[in-house]
């Protein structure tokens, strides 16, 4: 098999990521196929972090001195960049959180708090919450807790044998009692890209909110929140070449305005009296305390980097890589893909099992050859339960992944089979 064409000059891209030069134990070059777990960081992002701390460090939105103004401008500038990235109608709709989990928890917690004035934003007995069986635990557990606290029912879409949402029951599952549907855009374990439009259309019919977990999609394809038609979108910085410690919740202005505050503290208030407080308008209503300033600025640099390369080109590159990887994996006897085994509506994350070899052993032996993959249930245990397997091995790709690296994984799998054969 010859490597197909990619629209990216990957050799050039790789020069922007110093860690890709690493040699591992045994002098193996690093083959990093774990970007769905966390992505590597380009020099531009590392420099932005260092420049902030060495030149501009100050707290935001409260200092009148020059450093404070510079820091605030950079922090708010990052918000502008992220708004532009996902084509948000307003920069005020971008809420910085510490990660995607916190963004998802923010929505679940505020809906469950019962503090919203408008009953559409209060969960209670008789209401229903709908998720899917392919969610990351961070989009399951907050809703289970919300259901426990409020008496709302917790329901979910099942999965088809080939790793897609079973939408056959959508008419019953999303109904007049449904308050919110929270689903993943691209599955972190299966790679499936979900049919968001169908879910949004049904949710609109019954007046339910739609929250989309874009942790695995925003880093990899152009996103337009208006086109998607969802009400809320959560994603995280560290999977999109940004730093850890920074995530984003986008929401339509009317939705964010209607939700009560999440965490209380500095910066989220309008005025505080011992008899009661009023709150700042969005986005600051949801950003209590000193935010992750450097991390937000780093994420802004990451967005600049990704848009500089071009998310459409990154997406095209990953599609080519994934098609190649599916071919290579299907060619290894005893390897079975868990999830869509075609390029239809799927992204660059491929889970598989190797007959007779536990994923932990697969991962360990690949690691000894310098190939870094993830093994386990990928914080999406119900997916493994659904397919009757204890765990999977998962390879995930990004803009710096090469076809040679997929060859290295395939060669590594042959070694694994020989070793345990």
């Amino acid at each position: 098999m010859s490597a197909p064409h990619s629209p990216l000059d990957v050799d050039r891209v790789r020069k922007d990521f110093p860690i890709l030069e690493r040699r591992l134990a045994g002098d193996h070059p690093l083959v990093y196929l774990d970007s769905a777990n966390t992505s590597q960081k380009p020099t531009a992002v590392l420099d932005a972090l260092a420049e902030h701390y060495t030149q501009h460090n100050a707290n935001v939105a409260r200092a009148v001195h020059q450093l404070g103004e510079e820091s605030t401008a950079a922090y708010e500038g990052a918000r502008d960049k992220i708004a532009a990235l996902i084509k948000a109608p307003s920069r005020d709709e971008i809420i910085f959180t510490k990660n995607a989990s916190e963004a998802l928890n923010l929505v679940a917690h505020t809906l469950a708090s019962g503090l919203a004035e408008d009953p559409r934003y209060r969960l209670g007995p008789g209401d229903e919450i709908v998720v899917t069986e392919m969610e990351h635990h961070s989009n399951i557990v907050p809703w289970q807790l919300a259901a426990q606290r409020t008496g709302a029912a917790f329901r979910w879409f099942g999965l088809t044998d080939e790793g897609r949402l079973d939408l056959s029951t959508i008419g019953e599952l999303i109904n007049e009692r449904t308050k919110i549907v929270s689903l993943v855009h691209q599955s972190n374990s299966l790679g499936t890209v979900n049919d968001v439009a169908t879910v949004v259309a049904r949710a609109r019919e019954v007046g339910a909110l739609v929250l989309l977990d874009g942790s695995q999609s925003v880093p990899h394809q152009p996103i337009d929140v208006t086109e998607l038609g969802v009400d809320l979108l959560a994603f995280t910085g560290h999977k999109m070449v940004g730093p850890t410690g920074i995530g984003v919740l986008w929401g339509r202005r009317d939705v964010l305005d209607a939700l009560p505050p999440f965490l209380g503290g500095g910066e989220m208030i309008e005025t505080v009296a011992m008899t009661g407080s009023t709150f700042a308008p969005i986005p600051h209503k949801f950003e209590a305390g000193t935010p992750p300033i450097a991390q937000a600025i780093g994420l802004g640099a990451a967005v600049d980097y990704l848009t500089g390369v071009g998310l459409d080109r990154i997406h095209e590159h990953e599609q080519a890589l994934t098609a190649y990887a599916l071919d290579q994996l299907n060619a290894v006897d005893g390897v079975r893909i868990i999830g869509p085994n075609s390029m239809e509506s799927r992204g660059g994350t491929v889970s598989f099992v190797v007959d007779g070899v536990h994923p932990h052993d697969v991962g360990q032996l690949l690691d000894e050859q310098g190939v870094a993959v993830r093994v386990g249930h990928h914080c999406a245990r119900p997916v493994c339960v659904r397919y009757g397997i204890p765990a999977t091995t998962r390879a995930s790709f990004y803009l710096y992944t090469t076809f040679d690296e997929i060859d290295a994984m395939a060669a590594g799998l042959q070694q694994v089979k020989r070793f345990f054969g």
């Binding site: 536990h358 994923p359 932990h360 052993d361 360990q364 032996l365 000894e368 093994v375 386990g376 249930h377 245990r381 493994c384 204890p390 765990a391 070694q415 070793f419 345990f420």
Partner: protein
């Protein structure tokens, strides 16, 4: 390849496990799960006075966790509870020794093959899973209590 982690002895026990399968009668049973990887094991212990007359087990998981259960069966069946707990302590110390503890073959037999695992913090729990379940099952057998199920952390 894999000189330090995947010793031939471990692969042997993985491919040809000794004493695998849950048996009757048993005085105590424990089911342990490693929540980070989903490995699980059920261990049953049968006592005759203070002597362990059988250790039976069944489970699913990586080669390390399953081979370790096989070695456990071989090492501890026929011993007194006191002896078995002493071996268990030695094995646990070896596994938690970060590769700095010299294994004692007289005490641990095939268990010394796991010395290399101690250098891989992520895999130590795999090796200890059945041993922790064994301790629980034995405690249940000693007190005549029913089965216990829990997650190992």
């Amino acid at each position: 390849m894999s000189d330090s982690l995947y010793q031939e002895i471990i692969l042997d026990h993985y491919k040809h496990p000794h004493g695998r399968g849950l048996r009757e009668p048993f005085g105590g049973e424990a089911h342990h799960v490693n929540p980070t990887c989903g490995d699980e094991i059920t261990v049953r212990v049968e006592l005759d006075g203070s002597t362990i007359t059988d250790v039976s087990y069944d489970g699913q998981g990586c080669s390390i966790s399953q081979a370790s259960a096989s070695v456990l069966h071989e090492l501890l069946t026929g011993r007194t509870v006191e002896d078995a707990f002493a071996v268990d302590k030695t094995f646990t110390e070896l596994m938690q020794g970060r590769g700095q503890v010299e294994p004692d073959e007289d005490v641990l037999g095939d268990g010394i093959a796991f010395a290399g695992v101690a250098k891989y913090p992520a895999r130590v729990k795999c090796a200890l899973l059945s041993w922790m379940a064994f301790k629980d099952a034995t405690a249940r057998a000693l007190t005549g209590a029913g089965p216990i199920s829990k997650e190992s952390r």
